[in-house]
Symmetry: C2
Subunit: 223 residues, 2 copies
């Protein structure tokens, strides 16, 4: 097995290839070319080939890639041969939605626990799980190897939740709170921020509007 790390950009795309390939497998597609995988994922074929080459040489020239085998290799590379336990902290609107998200189980994860600091919420049942107190986190971490932390609290609480997660030995955190978390070396954090995504869209939306404007002016000047 090759031990060089896979480029970050490629790691970010492997899950997308995986999902597409799983769908193809369900539809009975036996092999796939870089060209058709590119089409289905929205990337281009050179990128697909380069990405897949980091997994090893699993394609057949003149034919393409064996869908089932590629699925297996990507799963292995991403560590998805096991189901990973996830703890969701902060069961507001978003935490609720996350707990009920069916895609979790389908794609290699299981909710190990739902936690909230609000005593009024503790005991309530969501997605078949009883909400527990944040104070239970040490126990939950102790009994779940490789636990992944998801933070869906309001921003002001997020850093202290992250600190607690780090303290109980969690080294992978998915953060939905709109704040930059400070964590020690060796802990991975990924952030999802809905408003940020929308603001990026408005930048390009505005730019398109400005471009159209310039064109209009140009025509007016000519006419």
């Amino acid at each position: 097995m090759d031990d060089r790390p896979i480029p970050e950009a490629t790691v970010g795309r492997l899950p997308i290839y995986l999902r597409t390939l799983v769908e193809m497998a369900e539809n009975g597609v036996p092999t796939v070319s870089s060209e058709s995988l590119a089409e289905a994922t929205g990337f281009n074929s050179a990128k697909v080939r380069k990405d897949l080459s980091h997994l090893g040489s699993y394609g057949t020239r003149g034919v393409g890639y064996d869908v089932a085998y590629l699925i297996h290799q990507i799963r292995r590379e991403l560590g998805l041969t096991q189901h990973w336990p996830v703890v969701i902290v902060g069961i507001g609107n978003l935490g609720h939605a996350l707990a009920n998200y069916r895609g979790f189980a389908e794609r290699g994860f299981r909710a190990a626990a739902l936690l909230d600091s609000d005593p009024a919420k503790v005991g309530e049942e969501v997605a078949g799980l009883r909400i527990r107190s944040v104070e239970d986190l040490p126990d939950i971490a102790a009994s779940n190897e490789g636990l992944i932390g998801v933070i869906s609290t309001p921003a002001p609480a997020a850093q202290q939740v992250a600190d607690l997660m780090v303290r109980v030995g969690i080294h992978s955190i998915l953060n939905f709170a709109p704040i930059a978390l400070a964590v020690p070396e060796g802990v991975s954090v990924r952030k999802v921020d809905l408003a940020v995504e929308l603001q990026i869209l408005t930048y390009y939306e505005q730019r398109k509007a400005a471009l159209l404007d310039v064109k209009r002016r140009g025509r007016a000047a000519l006419g």
Copy 2:
């Protein structure tokens, strides 16, 4: 005004500077150095300076940047001088959470409408808005210049919702469905996929576990 496009990587960070700066302004901080802005955002100071230099030269040597002025410039660049209307299609768990997300209004957006194709849901009230039929989208688009579409439907419905959005003139889409949308040139799509983010985390989590393992073996071999 400079008309060269800002690098994509920088555009992706501007919203994060903005949020941090707004918080600083609320705390009465008048000026900020690239070093302290770097600390607060988790980037480094060289990156901060390079990013901000794309907006123009708004810093003062020996002092730093005027917080209020910088906020103004970033808002202008991102097109956040106006509030943008957003239509959310697919009011399941996630759509619900999005509709109730307070950060929207705070950061330049307003829900123009909530739509669902399920007649049983139409009429229901969520976040102070009545859920309407997807068939109302043309009307909504016609009366909201610069409307941004948010897709929170299940994957199988997402492409046809996107097609409809494109048809009614929307050119910015935020997609939560785990599928690559095909859209014509000139339409921007950003995708948020919860399971993808978790799968990226597991890659690194696995890598850390493997590294620890190697170290353990190394010690065992030496001992």
